[in-house]
Amino acid sequence: MEESAPPPLCYATGRVALTPGTECLAGMRFQLDELDVFFPYDYLYPEQFSYMCELKKVLDAKQGHGLLEMPTGTGKTVCLLSLIIAYQHEHPAMGKLIYCTRTVPEMEKCLAELKFIRQKRGEMLAAEGRSTKDEPFLALCLSSRKNMCVHERVVSEADREHVDVECRKMTASWVRARARQDSGVELCGFFEEWDRAGTDAVMPAGVYDIEDMKRLGREHGWCPYFMARHAIAHANVVVYNYQYMLDPKVAGMVSRELEAESVVVFDEGHNIDNICIEAYSVELDKGKLNRAQRCASRLGRRVDELRAHDAERVQAEYERLVKGLEDAGAFAGRAALTDAQLGASPVLERDVLDEAVPGNVRRAEHFLRLVKVVIQHLKKRLEAPKVEVETPAAFLLDLEQKTALDSKPLQYFYARLNSLMRTVEVADLDDYAALGMVADFATRVATYQDGFAVVLDPFFRGPSGIPEAKLQLSCLDASLAIKPVFERFASVIITSGTLSPLDLYPKLLQFTPVVQVSLQMSIFRPCILPLVVTKGADQLAMSTRFESRDDASVVRNYGALLVDLAAHVPDGLVVFFTSYQYMEQTVAKWDETGVLRRLLAHKLLFIETKDVVETTLALENFRRACDCGRGAVFLSIARGKVAEGIDFDRHYGRCVVNIGVPYQYTQSHVLRTRLDYLLTRFQIREADFLTFDAMRQTAQCVGRVIRSKTDYGIVILADARFARNDKRSKLPAWVLQFLQSAHLNLSTDASLGIVRTFLRQMAQPVDDADLKQMLLDTATVASLVKGRRSDAGHFMDLAPT
């Protein structure tokens, strides 16, 4: 007799797609203080309930921000969305939820959760005879033209990199004006149709991911990109990339109109300080400066041509500049969306924008001559024989002395260039990227006196490994980029699975969170096996420290560890190296010594490269190999593209190996400058910051393989340095709770025995009774809510840990 399997327990797994039997869920509804929370699953984890309570404290604080850490794979996103949407319904004045993600897959996952929540909410209300039609709800995502374009020719013919250019060539206001007189000028039908619809081009209520937007665009003949750009002003939830909020050039165009009452969430925000710094830093080298010089000459010729046949337009621009940059940069109507050239002005204060543009940059030819002088100066600086690190003030002083220029006009460069390019009607912006970077550099260096450093490294070794001179305006203070966000929006929530140690973030970002909490992971079985492997079977220490990383014994022992693990671990195995260079050298040595031949006898091998397309295809192949074979091995980089955004859940990642502690390259002059700044400004010691940074990257790699509570995985920390308390204590609590003291100094063969035992245990069926004991149902949640009023926090005691 066939037994019928019991219905699956329905609980959040961290993603909708993996949840078994979601179609049979009834969902959960409970009252959290005044909020009517609709949770789309039947059960809640204890930490999810805690998370919601803490989140609500942040929202209740109005002008308050939060820092919340919850273990990876415990359903952060779903409880965050459930609670904030409930809050939105209860407090309509709250404004939008602006949800910032790192990657497009994360964006899509968020929207899938949101769809699910809305669907369950509708079903639960329908059961009461109510409808959601009276509560119009619009959630959408915003991505680049490359991802959203539906124009057949542009998508099929144009190089993906040139979608932006092709789009501008068909949608810029001057192109459209020309098309009215010349029928031969090609316009984008989707944009024209959307423009024609005007105020009627309203998106129906719903939750739209990129594909939904494109589908809607095709159905109505509207351009999805411009539709999204326009609709974010009316949406309840907007999901987009960090850059759109943190990079002032993009944020100035995209996020300027968003209401201040909105709640901003930075999901997976453990690297937010680095993103802030990247957004504000500018790098120049000789190649870029040469291109910028050519662009300036080309622009000069176009100005001359324009003056010859349309002097009025040049004069009009001059008049606008006299009134100030704000007027010069003002766009009207749809042109605000289509004609923005290099992006909004990055950093200028209101008073700078309002005052008249200095006389020596008002005329185009004067401005371009000035630009050329600055470029020449920068090129000369690149020829310096040794490394130079100086403050922006020192850099400007040197510029003034050597070129006899006043430094004040520099801060207008970016906006002035933007205005000029619009005047001469430049659509192919790619050609002018280098010139834009020079203008950006000039504007920033003239605007910021503190928190920046100009680093000139004549022998910078980039990814190519070839030394080349590099001039970098390096942002040292992450708080500069995020400060406008904290000041402007009501609540900013930074959340991730790996924020430990929490007290460092308020220092780095210069804010005072109203809630700063790290939540434990409730478990029903030890689903993570962290092992610190410090030596090979020959008892020689394994470490990627610079002095020993190239030793034959170290390379051999790492290879032997990998081959042994491939032989014992079923399915996917993910390995994280500390850098591309080290990985490539090690792979070459393993290829030479036959390690990889032995590895291929067990599993196929895939390797991350610097090429995004190749890495994507390797990932796709890796998943296929895991789906239909004996699993595969993926070699990756701890700070790479894969470590930051790709999940290796279930059989895609049964084991993760961290080869080495992923420290940053400490000889980098930029890093050294930043470390000095952190010490003098925030009293963060160099070693503390480096270890913190390395361990958050390690934790991020570890989190890749555990994406739900029924998932399980082995975590091998393969470096003798992981055994030290100062390193491992900085790992998140949800990893440390599984780390036994007996597993801190293992050899390869000893670790294999433990791995085998663990795999045997984990291969047993999940006991639904055990799992259910850990989950909270509606009744338990109701009692917890009641108890919360008298004694907040005791509910965590119910969770077996």
Partner: protein
């Protein structure tokens, strides 16, 4: 313990009769050994090990001084010898049993040698083996090596061999004649292999001599992995001979460009784009790249994220002033090589969703490839680049090609679309089972899976023999019936199993069992006879 009974001796003319039985352990598991005229069988409740006399190379016994009485049986088909430890209360009794067993086995082996030269091919093949050893280039040696390696590598084929040849249903030659293409499959497998064939290490000869062995599979692999080599071959062969071309390849800088050894020795830079040789001239941009047009799952698409970071901001262009070749791609090329290799392997699996996984494909597909094979080439390359101290002699070449190797004829039979569909459905069901087993907490279901898979493979082999050798059908019929009974039994076991997992497996196995049953039910049907196999 049973001695050699008079009844047993008297019945020795019948192959099925038991000659001797004793208790022995194999790989630390207790069991019973039975010596029959056709072979020695060890079995316990769960496992069976059989060594037919047809494949018995030699049998050895432990000396009396040894604390354990052991019988060691080596097979001509290769693989580890079977070592049986006699289980008796005392060492004396154990050695007594061992002595009886030795006498019995020796008697049978002698009798087989006396009686079989004229009627069976085994003795002649033994002589042929001897001849082959004496003349290594002789065709029979190569063929026999291939057969041995095939049997050693493929448990299913070995099972079919036992079922058909050892049992005397068909002769050895008949068995292999129907599987000529299988020999080729072993050399140039249709199913992709994980092995990096282009990187097979050469044998080290005297001095700076390296010996590379090429075959059809390796050549096909190199031509597919390295388009520049394919182009060079198309351009230069002829007039250049095939041998000369491949020797040039192994001597070229191009050959070493993505080898870890060259990178580690710091030679890859000079062997890269800078190196101008026969092959580098045919290199084109994008040879190392994967096909970017293939659709990928949204969850792993990093290109969208990369594009998303540059909203309205032009991408940072690569420096056009950078001198070509300034990058040092040596280590990167090694990385690209592995990604390309894996792409090739996975890409082949993904060509057809219904195509079964690697192992299943290799096991189940036979006689499908009609591609003519190439000869085996052994190239002795004087490669001084790898020498630490050059000898000063000019780079030379000595090519040792084995004489006239047999050229395999293409297969004469192929599975018809109907049977191929059945095979694919079964493979898909196996894959479902694999996926199921991968789920967290799934119980190990290997016994069910392997049992069903073996039965299915055996059914295919028997059916193929049925249609290939009509004259052997009387002998095949009882075996097909026996298989049918076993399948029924397996089906019943699954269906009646009380455990939930077994019941679930029964559901998963249903399509496989249905297909097997359908094949067996149709075995007498004329329609089946003509439709399941199509001549090519």
């Amino acid at each position: 313990t049973l001695g050699v009974s008079s009844k047993g001796m008297a019945a020795s003319s019948s192959e099925e009769d038991l000659l001797f039985r004793f208790r022995a352990s194999y790989q630390k598991q207790d069991g019973t050994v039975e010596i029959r005229a056709r072979g020695v069988t060890w079995k316990n409740g769960t496992a069976t090990v059989e060594v037919p006399f047809a494949v018995l190379a030699k049998h050895e016994v432990s000396p009396k001084s040894h604390p354990k009485a052991m019988l060691k049986l080596s097979r001509t088909t290769g693989g580890p010898p079977v070592v049986l430890t006699i289980r008796e209360a005392t060492a004396e009794r154990a050695y007594s049993v061992l002595s009886d067993a030795k006498v019995t086995i020796s008697a049978i082996v002698k009798r087989r040698k006396r009686s079989e030269p004229s009627e069976s091919g085994s003795s002649s093949s033994h002589k042929a083996r001897k001849r082959a050893r004496a003349v290594p280039e002789e065709a029979g040696n190569v063929e026999e090596e291939l057969r041995r390696s095939l049997l050693a590598a493929d448990a299913r084929l070995s099972a079919a061999y036992k079922e058909l040849v050892t049992e005397g249903v068909v002769s050895e030659e008949e068995f292999w004649s129907a599987r000529r293409s299988e020999s080729i499959e072993a050399v140039a497998p249709a199913a992709p292999s994980n092995e990096l064939l282009a990187d097979a290490p050469p044998a080290v000869g005297e001095g700076s001599k390296l010996r590379y062995t090429l075959n059809a599979a390796k050549i096909a692999y190199i031509l597919e992995m390295y388009p520049a080599v394919r182009r060079a071959r198309e351009a230069h062969v002829p007039p250049m001979s095939e041998k000369a071309f491949w020797v040039k390849y192994f001597q070229s800088r191009y050959y070493l460009r993505d080898k870890g050894a060259a990178v580690a020795a710091g030679k890859a830079g000079e062997l890269g784009e800078g190196g101008d040789d026969l092959f580098a001239r045919f290199e084109r941009r994008g040879d190392d790249a994967l096909d970017p047009r293939r659709p990928v799952a949204p969850g792993v698409d990093l290109t969208k994220t990369a594009a998303d970071r540059a909203l309205d901001e032009p991408p940072d262009e690569p420096d056009e002033n950078e001198p070509a070749g300034a990058l040092d791609p040596s280590a990167e090329r090694v990385v690209h090589k592995f990604n390309r290799h894996a792409d090739r392997v996975v890409g082949r699996i993904a060509l057809d969703d219904a195509t079964p996984p690697v192992v299943a494909a290799a096991d189940l597909v036979d006689d499908l490839d009609t591609k003519p094979p190439d000869r085996l080439l052994t190239l002795n390359v004087d490669d001084r680049r790898l020498d630490a101290a050059p000898t000063g002699r000019p780079a030379g070449l000595s090519l040792a090609t084995p004489g006239d190797r047999p050229r395999w004829s293409p297969a004469s039979l192929a599975l018809s679309p109907a049977l191929e569909t059945a095979r694919r459905r079964a493979a898909a069901a196996f894959r479902v089972l694999d996926d199921k087993a991968r789920r967290p907490g799934a119980a190990p279901d290997e016994p069910f899976r392997s049992s069903a898979e073996e039965h299915f493979a055996l059914a295919l082999q028997l059916l193929k023999a049925w249609f290939t050798f009509p004259s052997k059908r009387p002998k095949l019929r009882p075996r097909l019936d026996a298989l049918n009974t076993q399948l029924d039994s397996l089906r019943r076991d699954l269906r009646d199993s009380s455990t939930r997992h077994a019941a679930q497996h029964a559901a998963v196995l249903q399509p496989i069992l249905a297909q097997i049953a359908a094949i067996l039910e149709k075995r007498d049907s004329d329609h089946f006879d003509t439709s399941l196999f199509a001549h090519v």
